[in-house]
Symmetry: D3
């Protein structure tokens, strides 16, 4: 089974990290293919960049030359999963939703710890649309920009753990979701500090994608995710 | 006052129609500037095309060379308004939300009549995120593709009016919103058939944009719509 | 165009202030007619007085001898807008709803700063019924009675600004609505303190009423706001 | 124990019927005092009349010369209960809420069968504000005006029973609430036709008012229902 | 009239206390029959014990040899009321729901003060399913185990009153519900400390059960609470 | 990895079917252990039987003598999952929730097709509590009792497929969940009739349980699912 794991930003080192994290959860026989979009922002921290990422991820997947069995969109709170589902029949899993759906099996409520405060509304919106908001205790920001996670991992993990403790104590979260693709690998320390299960979206998404493939399930094509109708495009796809 | 009215598709004749409709609602002294995106689909009828339109509308507005006072995104149920709000300080008005907010002042519940069935979930999602869903009685589809509205207006208006009657009788709608930029101008016949007020999103948006400008109100920059952080982009904006 | 702006209390000086505030937002050619009810309380700060105001506003409008194009009910969180809509075909705009609907175009969430704590539930109820509650971050009270706004405006504005800062910082409001007809004119200082847009219900209502009139839209008469059925009344209207 | 049962309209024969119905549910030692407002409409079928009734009921209760232990507002879906609660410490029970609260003990969902279609939104609003809407399957109208219930009881009961059957079969209601003060006494036939329990608001309210009195419980005065603040009124109470 | 009041735990002294409390609210002529389950935990503080209590209460009621008119399940936040309703036609009243329904007649919002933090989610779930959650301001825990209420009543009442004060001040509760069968009798002190009405579930349930019986109302048998279908059981009821 | 798959009824042949179905989804190296409760009803079709099943499943798992890695409760809409989570640290997966969580990755809305009408409210309640209700289009009943699925599988599959078609056409479901443990194996025909993905709860639960184990995730023990406190039980566990 081949699963495309598509980063939403254009920072190759982050794609690499995400790919490695994904592999830790993959079954024997599953090939993880990490992909970086051909265009877009070095980090996605707001709506403008996220809308651009949405379309960049779609074009990246459309131009992937080999067959594949599932796609993981590895950005937290980003736009675009619905478009991918139109373009493909194979399962599409967004890590925001994968983490939340997984967390709900482990505790009565969960909180998401993300990077910047401005990412909070994007994540809340995605959870609401995905029908996964009612058991979300809170979405909290550590205040760290995405790329800081790579530059100073030690400080990052402490800031995230600190906020996770607040979520457990003040918001009554029983599970923590790490709210950024780049946070993969920080789980251990957050478990240590909070005493609750910590879900990483990338690894959760890998197991969900594998499960859907194994069960032979594909995206429903009857209405919302029907294939795009054939039509004329102006100046698109853009010349590369 | 200058208001940009941006079509979401690349069909110039539709941009022209929307512009003319907008002008019917503009105050003396307001200049309506209709714009067609430089890239994208000839009609937007699904998530893939809508995500592309989101970014196309943003680039169209970003490259507009003159100053302006407000922007109207003239697509029904499309993605992208949040991104425009990040990029700009001047008011941004989405016609989906303009129609719903206006309808709520006229009756206790409203229905939206749109084109294809596949547009229904997109519109529902936008209304939910905008906080305008609780008085929405239904979103119904006439079954006509967007471009059909131009090709056979007489048949279109009947199909739409038919569905509007069902919304009033079966869903208890007290106001009808015309759920497509290209439906401008069909109001009269729908009023005639249903006996309830009919709101067109384009004209509603013009009055709202003008009102916000007159009141000196601009987009809140404190969190969700803060300007994008400065960062490196790969291969974007695309060469034109 | 003539717009009646009806105060909900019987304090004439407050009617005058509201009328002046309304005129600052009116287009050339719009005549603002401020009205004081013939009966009722000097300030409306609770349900008993608000129910009385509801009927006093209706009688005031019913006995207005000239034609008019729209009515604004200039009380925050008061009962009665639905009754006015039954009695009239022209648009009726409540300032509570006007402020909230306007705020939603400027930010993802808004808070209302009102006078006394006891007004909070009334405002919350109105927003809920109007379908405008889901993006309301909070309704907060400054603790000042309505008439205090006139007696000591300097202290009033500080108390309100203080509470607005709390709404922005603690409740994540991105826009502030001034929650009392008598607060008109305090916007500037609250903007200065909070850094977010501040919406005044009276001026917002003027632009909405004008917009509805210009678009030729009137209240839906099909169900909720159908004209009262002809019937016998005992001892009403009361002799004046 | 003395309970005031206040009709919302000025039709004395209906007050008499409501009083008799109330007495069937009263315990020995409970005195039922039926009251007709001194002003208002002969029947209440919409917002204008309902707002007037709200204030008429309050004045009626305020001018009642003897002590009493509880008040029942015997109108379905009418405004005003909150104002009465401010004026009094003794329990105030609205029959809309009494019926719904009682129905919820008998089945998983309930429907209300009311008179005219225009009463439906008023009832829905009251249930929403009272926190009793989530298990309401539907509010349905029989199409009969209030006074018709007195003029042709046989036809009335059939129309109501017919609609109740639809509520049970189509809306999955498990209990029926009779949605009009004047429907008291029709329960038997509706039980016969539907096979489900039928709750009459007037009798339900009597038992609830008695229960609250027996338990020594009174209205909370801490915020929403605090007594009105002392203030000047213009031309009110009206001369009688 | 005979009402069974069934404790959910197997501590006989607590059954006795509950029975005595119930009798204080019973009308003359009502016989209160307190019952202790034949099996189960000495106190119910979590899901495992609560599920066991659910079935123990049902078996206790099924094996009661005399006729009876209503049943009260005297555990706060426990499972099982729905099963009892299937087994019986006579009214079944859960004290969690009785307290909440009663509180809603006294103030705009209520809080529940319970024993251990782990009981909070159980109570929240019951209120949600019962359609009584929307006006619940909070469910708070005093931190005291159930049996501590008997062992050190003075300390218990202070801990509960303390938490009730927080509910009123911080969560804006206007009424307090005592969230444990064993808290009966503590009302007075909590009223004293908070100044708001305090509802005890056991006494509230007695008046509701009596009311339903007096009104001749029984559980709806049409769907959710239809009698169990005849079928084979393995090893059940267990030998006693 | 060893996963216990616990039937909720005492029909051994159904346990066998469920076990076989579970094995079709298990990875190599996963041992599926089907278990039948030692006591309870031959089929679970209502609250009384479901509460009994809850406790029977718990006792069955508690007395299982070997170590295991996860538990699947293989009943649709049954009580008890929360209790199992208190008793265990290893993941517990309810098939109702497993099916819904899986369906949400495949389409925008899903419907559940269950057996008898009386099972509908139980399933709705479980989905609501699990935070999985907002994208549930409907829960529909085929009208067939549980055991009929075994007795006449051909008729069963047609009745279920028929209802599934209605869910897709009338309720706008985009995915179908088979709402009974005993429906395993009917997917193919329902896919054929509806053209949408069909999710079976048992196989979905197996992949979820395996995923949680592989990710090293266990139930949060911080509040809702903390282990039961040590205490005295009367006559329990029952002698076997």
């Amino acid at each position: 089974m081949r699963i495309l794991v598509v980063n939403v930003n254009t920072t190759d080192s982050m794609t690499k990290t995400i790919g490695e994290q994904a592999r830790t959860a993959a079954s024997p026989g599953t090939q993880i293919v990490p992909l970086t979009p051909a265009f877009g922002a070095e980090s996605v921290e707001g709506n403008y960049e996220s809308h651009l990422a949405a379309i960049a991820v779609m074009e990246t997947v459309r131009s992937y030359p080999e067959p594949f069995d599932a796609v993981i969109q590895a950005g937290y709170g980003e736009h675009g999963r619905e478009g991918l589902q139109e373009l493909l029949s194979v399962p599409v899993v967004d890590i925001t939703e994968a983490a939340a759906a997984t967390a709900q099996f482990l505790g009565r409520s969960y909180s998401v710890i993300t990077t910047l405060d401005r990412a909070v509304p994007l994540i809340e919106d995605r959870l609401l649309l995905a029908g996964l908001a009612s058991r979300c205790a809170s979405v909290r920001a550590s205040g760290l920009p995405v790329l800081e996670l790579e530059r100073d991992p030690a400080a990052a993990v402490e800031a995230i753990a600190e906020e996770a403790v607040r979520a457990v104590e003040q918001d009554r979260a029983e599970v923590i979701c790490l709210g950024c693709g780049g946070m993969s690998g920080l789980s251990e320390r957050v478990v240590e500090r909070t005493g609750v299960p910590v879900v990483d979206g990338v690894t959760a998404a890998v197991t969900i994608a594998e499960s859907l493939v194994r069960l032979g399930l594909t995206t429903s094509k009857i209405r919302t995710y029907a294939p795009p109708r054939p039509k004329q495009f102006r100046a698109w796809p853009m010349p590369v």
